[in-house]
């Protein structure tokens, strides 16, 4: 039975440099950035809220106690 050996080369991922950009490209990029709106975190908040609620339920059920609110970021 013939066998085939495949030489798979790993793909090299690079990070583009964002400094010393050529004027035309850099101007367009900086213009895009400066005209971007601040993020709307409604979906982010929903995901985090669901996660915390899940943990509350699981750990509250494990310990048989009500968990109080923790301190927020300083």
């Amino acid at each position: 039975m013939a066998t085939t050996v495949q030489n798979s080369k790993p793909i090299r991922f690079g990070k583009p440099s964002m400094t010393n950009l050529p004027y035309d490209l850099g101007s367009r990029i900086i213009n895009t950035i400066m005209n971007s709106p601040k993020p709307d975190f409604t979906e982010t908040d929903r995901i985090v809220s669901e996660l915390m609620k899940k943990i509350d339920e699981e750990r509250g059920a494990e310990n048989g106690c009500v968990v109080s609110e923790g301190s927020s970021a300083q």
């Binding site: 690079g14 850099g26 990029i29 900086i30 950035i33 982010t44 923790g70 301190s71 970021a73």
Partner: protein, 205 residues
């Protein structure tokens, strides 16, 4: 959980983050850190285990470990460093006809590394959104703190070019992409040294 015994530099109800090296257990615990797809993201585990301490000591990077507040298990980690988007220097003529050299910059914070510990995920398969929680509770607040001290307009990341990851960064983390034309021009600058380019994604602080 009272303020006097609060753990880490930041915490929420169930998790906290602290500088790498703050705990005597860090060196041991990071050895158990794993990623879901080692073929793709193995570099993230490798960085934490083999490079992060050196970069921390040199101030080249700030790496934070995220832990379960009550069990101290390692949940994830992220590394941030200062950065900027800038144009190259160019000469312009001012109103008086004098030539000046100028360049434009947008200062920012780069999320250089960011991974959830697969060993922790496997133990809690129903806890969806741990990465989003780390970003929301720790990464973005830290970046906001930096911005309150020194000019910082941007939070950015170079995402591996996989559609599912890019979509997640857009949908759940609210990162934006550049115009396709500009992404293509950026990526051309990488050739021939790299096969594919990570995608620059950003959000305003």
């Amino acid at each position: 959980m009272d303020a006097l015994s609060a753990k880490g530099v930041l915490h929420n109800k169930w998790f906290y983050c602290d500088h790498l090296g703050s705990s005597e257990n860090d060196l041991t615990d990071i050895k158990t850190f794993s990623v879901r797809d080692p073929d793709i993201a193995g570099g993230l585990a490798n960085y934490l285990q083999n490079q992060a301490f050196d970069d921390e000591n040199n101030n080249a990077m700030r790496t934070y470990l995220v832990r379960d507040y009550y069990t101290d298990e390692l949940v994830g980690y992220f590394s941030i460093k200062s950065g900027m988007v800038s144009l190259n220097e160019r000469k312009i003529e001012d109103d008086d006809g004098n030539i000046q050299v100028t360049f434009d910059t947008v200062p920012g914070i780069e999320i250089a590394n960011f991974a959830v510990n697969n060993a922790f995920v496997v133990k809690h398969p129903e806890w969806k959104g741990l990465g989003v929680m780390i970003f929301d509770s720790f990464i973005r607040p830290l970046a906001t703190q930096v911005a309150s001290i020194s000019g910082t307009m941007l939070l950015y990341i170079f995402a591996l070019p996989f559609d599912s990851l890019i979509n997640q960064y857009q949908r759940a983390y609210r990162f934006l992409r550049l115009e396709k034309r500009d992404e293509d021009d950026l990526h051309k600058r990488l050739k021939p040294f790299y096969d594919q380019s990570c995608i620059f994604m950003f959000q305003m602080l």
